[in-house]
Symmetry: C2
Subunit: 239 residues, 2 copies
């Protein structure tokens, strides 16, 4: 039985312009690997309604889960909820439970729940809220699309609350052998080993460090004993 | 006249599994912004022939340029050249000029140009080589698809050689005002300002730092004097 599959949509002009370095992809990738959900594709798209809706439509039918980050705040460029609703063809509007969460939050801090903040209570029909323990404004899951904040600490907190609701599979394990030889020398025997262990995946990730050419040989799979067996063979071949 | 558009394809299971943090997207985004080429989408795909070819096919017709990173080394998991050739429906094989480059390189270092290394001379028919001043094995441009290495210092060197061949547009400029107020307070006047300057784009990027909520208000455009004018208004409104 194979693991559930997933894709991610990172929404943000600020990443495509090079102003900001995305931090959420790496965090999600690690968390899903641990959970046994296979992240198969990531798309970074601009703050453009068509681009966001197209990505949601393309990915939600191909993967078991789609995770989005960014664009759910109170400013005019926060359009993710509308785009996701459009992709599903459902209505989006201020929802009472989300409004009540925000009202209580701003009452506590003595701030006004103004029109801009109320945008954060706009939730597509049929969605389930995702808790935001940092700044209250919730994310949401609409069927298999999970919409979360782009600010890294809020994203991470939302994801921590969401993941226990999802069914995972066998965690993907990996082991690495660092070899200080050029990839061209190791490619032949490495490919032969990959053919010995067809239930595992073998990747070679070259590096140069202080003038030394080398490669990290990575073996991945879900069966720890098979990984151990492959690492024994790798060590023999590249000792 | 609008700037040329671009997409990027990052090829690598090691990024999707969370083992490695991609560094090339941020570098390419910054370099293209400076060159006046608009990066509109990035896809991270796995080391899977169908996924790579599908991404190339989908993006090369929609954007002026497509930049790929990863999967052009000598090991069995280096399949990018084959996938790009398949997407174009052209033949791929060892090319004499690429082989000569590699032969000279390995002769100099006293190493053998073995079968694995010869894989790096496999170039799709009709492609133009991209120089690799670090480790010789070339990248290539096939029409509007530019295929480069995944190792960051090699990718950066290839890109530096490639960019002067491409026609850019007006560099996208940006200016930022950091405001230590919650986004909910600034959203209304910020949206109003965005409507005053419809030739510029206005983005709000919230942060929390040491318990302070704030936002970086970013204005982008190609006309420096318009940016200056917008920043004057921003400063007035959020003084």
């Amino acid at each position: 039985m194979s693991n559930p599959s997933a894709a991610m949509i990172v929404i943000g002009d600020e990443i495509l312009s090079g102003r900001t370095r995305d931090a959420n992809m790496h965090h999600l990738a690690g968390a899903l690997t641990e959970k046994g959900i296979d992240l198969r594709e990531v798309r970074v798209v601009s703050d453009d309604p068509g681009a966001i809706a197209d990505a949601v439509t393309a990915l939600r039918s191909r993967f078991d889960h789609v995770f989005t980050t960014g664009g759910i705040g109170p400013t005019h460029d926060d359009i993710t909820a509308d785009c996701v609703a459009a992709a599903f063809g459902v209505h989006v509007g201020v929802r009472d439970d989300a409004r009540a969460l925000l009202q209580a939050h701003y009452d506590r801090s003595g701030q006004d729940l103004n029109q801009a903040r109320l945008r954060m209570a706009r939730i597509p029909d049929g969605a389930v809220l995702i808790d935001n323990p940092i700044s209250t404004a919730p994310g949401f899951s609409l069927e298999n699309v999970h919409v979360m904040a782009g600010v890294p600490n809020i994203f991470q907190a939302m994801l921590a609350g969401l993941l226990p609701r999802l069914t995972g599979g066998a965690p993907l394990l990996s082991q690495t052998l660092r070899v200080e030889r050029g990839e061209g020398d190791i490619a032949g025997p490495f490919a032969a080993l990959a053919e010995e262990f067809t239930d595992l995946s073998f990747g070679s990730y070259p590096f140069t460090h202080n003038g030394i050419y080398g490669s990290n040989l990575v073996v991945r799979g879900t069966d720890a004993s098979r990984l151990d067996a492959a690492m024994v063979r790798l060590s023999e071949v590249f000792a």
